[in-house]
């Protein structure tokens, strides 16, 4: 026991010393970026299995990339969802609206109107296309970067902004950090700050739906970094064991704040490949190809709805912006990465597709960009009538104690009374703060 115990252990000289591997991303600040090593299979080259195929047969699908849009903007191959140009145009508009919303709210944070924001720049297809492939009453268990679900489902931008501003119009009563939306009416589960907790919850919701003989399914999202959480493992195990009607999405945007995907295991395998070990279907998708995301989601939804069980989908994409308004990616990665990303920009690719098939043009696109920017601006104006953070138009003070329990117990009533007394003692009533 003396060898190797604590700092006093000495290595045996007749054996090679062990070495600890600590992953390191390819590029750090100042490095020239070359993504040539990223394997990008040709669009249309991946087979589309029957949705009833046994999970054991997906080994080939978890190490490749399902891609529909080719370099010329054509939709090709067995995964082409053959959407009508109308639907594709609506999807494109949702993605553009999401980007405009993100842009505006990011600036609102920089202007001091709110404390915090997180963009989904470059990942617009992942949430928006999935929302188009799901039914409106399927329940989504998002992480904090799937605001595209709400936008694609037509939820009110004003309502979202009210939450971001924690103002008097905020349905969540200013209780939650900005962007931690909860919209039951849009099938959008309450966002938690604790990573991946929503994964087993989504599985449980799906199990409940199945146990009750319902027809609705659930879908969950987490980042590739969050797959390292224990809840991810628990969720996959439950999903497999009970063949839960759930779609488990991993948004592999290469970065978990400053940690590259290697710290979640990406050097050794793909995230889709984890499905194989759990015995659930696994797909790996070009996350910047809205048609591929749509097709994979539609496929997984059909599998779930026909009681064939769950599907794990890795969306291979790139987080083009900092992690949040509190983050500066220039500190840990090369500035050249977003532009060098081999899968490009999801909005540009869908736009080029529509143009390639003669259903869109640059002028209409530019007009749409202007239109969505105006829509967001108008919503912002409307939301700011309800107040911005710290400018007095907030929730009544006593809502602080609402909803801890269904009924307020005596100790909370006492503390509420204390708080109201403090307000009086402060000489400056809450509604003037």
């Amino acid at each position: 026991m003396s060898n190797g115990s604590g700092t006093n252990g000495s290595a045996r000289t007749n054996l090679p010393p062990l070495t600890l591997h600590v992953p390191e991303p390819k590029f750090r600040p100042g490095d020239a970026v070359d993504f040539a090593e990223v394997d990008v299979p040709a669009a249309g080259s991946v087979r589309r299995p029957d949705t009833a195929e046994a999970a054991s047969g997906f080994t080939d699908l978890v190490y490749t990339l399902i891609r529909v849009l080719d370099d010329d903007g054509k939709a090709v191959g067995p995964w082409n969802p053959r959407l009508s140009p109308d639907v594709v145009r609506r999807m494109l508009r949702s993605m553009a609206l999401l980007r405009a919303f993100d842009d505006r709210m990011f600036r609102a944070q920089r202007q001091g109107k709110t404390s915090f924001y997180m963009k989904a720049l470059g990942e617009e297809a992942v949430a928006v296309a999935a929302a188009y492939a799901l039914d409106h009453d399927d329940m989504c268990f998002p992480s904090y970067r799937q605001q595209g679900l709400l936008i694609a489902r037509g939820w009110s931008l004003v309502d979202m902004m009210n939450q971001i501003y924690s103002n008097r119009g905020d349905r969540l009563q200013g209780k939650q950090l900005p962007i931690m939306y909860s919209v039951k009416d849009a099938g959008f589960f309450s966002i938690s700050g604790n990573l991946t907790t929503q994964y087993p919850q989504a599985v449980g919701w799906a199990m409940a739906s199945a146990a009750k003989g319902d027809t609705r399914i659930a879908a969950a999202w987490c980042g590739e970094g969050s797959t390292a959480e224990g809840d991810f493992h628990a969720a996959c195990t439950f999903a497999s064991v009970y063949r839960a009607p759930v779609i488990l999405n991993i948004v592999n945007n290469q970065w978990a704040i400053s940690s590259f995907s290697g710290f979640a295991g990406a050097e050794a395998t793909t995230f889709a490949a984890r499905a194989v070990g759990y015995g659930i279907a696994g797909l790996r998708v070009d996350g910047n190809d809205a048609l591929a995301v749509y097709a994979a989601t539609e496929w997984a939804a059909e599998r779930a709805r026909t009681n064939q069980g769950s599907t794990l989908i890795e969306h291979f994409t790139y987080r083009a912006e900092g992690h949040s308004t509190s983050d500066d990616p220039g500190q840990y990665r090369s500035e050249g990465e977003p532009n060098a990303w081999p899968l490009g920009d999801p909005i540009r690719r869908l736009k080029e597709h529509l143009i390639a098939i003669g259903e869109w043009d640059e002028e209409r696109h530019a007009a749409q960009d202007k239109e969505v920017a105006e829509e967001v601006k108008a919503a912002q104006k409307e939301a700011e009538k309800n107040g911005i953070l710290g400018h007095g138009l907030h929730q009544p003070l006593d809502t602080l104690f609402d909803g801890v329990f269904e009924e307020m117990p005596w100790h909370l009533r006492e503390q509420q009374a204390q708080m109201l007394a403090e307000e009086t003692a402060s000489g400056r009533p809450w509604d003037k703060k």
Partner: protein, 354 residues
């Protein structure tokens, strides 16, 4: 009105009762709630076909079916996480954690999710789950089959914590917990599953068949959460206890011949402060007894509350009789357990100047 039915079923024609131990009483509560509400489901490790390692769920799967009573993988964070999702859907899950010592992997789901879901969604989503878990020592369970982690959860806003001490209470409280729309932790003192335990470990044990609270109505009844019970009225001092320690305190008080008022808290959050306050103001002395470790335990909260509310009525410092601040030992169990000797010594101390 703290109880729908009287303490022991009176000789009313329709009030049928039968002798039950705590396991049977819990089983009866689950069975009745599954009959009454199709959204009640039972899940956990070994709870299905086998009926639970303590038999608390025996027969439920055969009667109610596999989609309502089922075995789960061995993953506590998964069990609670899935239950939270089921609750959000609209079910009323009653998950079991096999031993309270194994609840920690589920801590994130309980603290960050179940407890906060109503608050953070401003009531859009709720967690009407009841987590059952055997807890407490006195069974030579060693470090990981004896713990009393209630203090961890009483510290969490949004969770209710319930601990019964008799079969009668266990059934009535469990029914109320399942019907409650807030998440409830229901800790079952496994030492008294089969019979009350007075702390005299070297004497023959009793079973519930001889105890009045082992007479349990066979039908539906509930005991409101947040209501303590005075199990022995007295004027000399107030003893606050719950779970197994209620019985230990009762035996010690009888042996010492002290006119103590013993209060079984039954629910820790929300706490029945009125009953506590009235009692201590009457007696002027307060002793708090729990198995859990001392520092940061629920006894500290009780002591602070009594001090704040009854300061001018107190005639002696508040005494806390608890487990020591060590992991729960195996061979030294009876030196660790807050049994008759430790409680008697504390009694002498608190009554010294009386």
């Amino acid at each position: 009105m703290s109880e729908i039915l009287p303490e022991t079923a009176e000789a009313g024609a329709e009030a049928t009762s039968s002798r039950m131990n705590m396991i049977q009483a819990i089983n009866s509560a689950l069975d009745i709630m599954m009959d009454r509400d199709p959204n009640v489901i039972v899940m956990g490790e070994d709870v299905g076909y086998f009926g639970g390692v303590f038999r608390a769920t025996a027969g439920l799967q055969a009667k109610h079916g596999k989609t309502r009573v089922f075995d789960t993988p061995i993953t506590e964070c998964g069990i609670i996480g899935v239950a939270v999702g089921m609750g959000a859907y609209g079910l009323r899950p009653v998950p079991e954690i096999q031993f309270a010592d194994y609840i920690y992997p589920a801590l994130d789901q309980l603290v960050s999710e179940a407890a906060r879901l109503r608050y953070r969604s401003a009531g859009e989503f709720t967690s009407p789950i009841t987590v059952r878990s055997p807890f407490g020592g006195g069974i030579f369970g060693g470090q990981t089959h004896s713990q009393s982690p209630e203090g961890i959860f009483t510290h969490v806003s949004g969770i209710k914590t319930v601990i019964p001490s008799t079969p009668y209470d266990a059934k009535g409280l469990l029914i109320a917990a399942i019907e409650d729309n807030d998440p409830v932790l229901f800790f079952e003192p496994k030492r008294i599953y089969n019979g009350p335990f007075d702390g005299y470990w070297d004497r023959p044990t009793q079973n519930w068949s001889k105890h009045p609270a082992g007479d349990v109505p066979t039908g539906y009844y509930r005991i409101e959460l947040g209501k303590a019970k005075v199990v022995r009225a007295g004027g000399a001092l107030t003893i606050l206890a719950y779970g197994t320690m209620v019985h230990v305190c009762t035996a010690v008080v009888a042996a010492a011949g002290v006119d103590a008022e013993i209060i079984d808290l039954r629910t820790l959050i929300p706490l029945d402060i009125e009953t506590i306050e009235a009692s201590v103001k009457k007696t002027g002395r307060c002793m708090i007894v729990h198995e859990a470790t001392r520092t940061g335990g629920f006894g500290a909260e009780l002591s602070a509350l009594v001090q704040e509310r009854c300061f001018y009525h107190l005639e002696a410092p508040i005494e806390r009789v608890t487990g020591f601040d060590t992991p729960y030992p195996h061979s030294l169990e009876w030196a660790y357990f807050p049994g008759p000797v430790r409680i008697t010594e504390a009694l002498k101390k608190i009554m010294k100047d009386a």
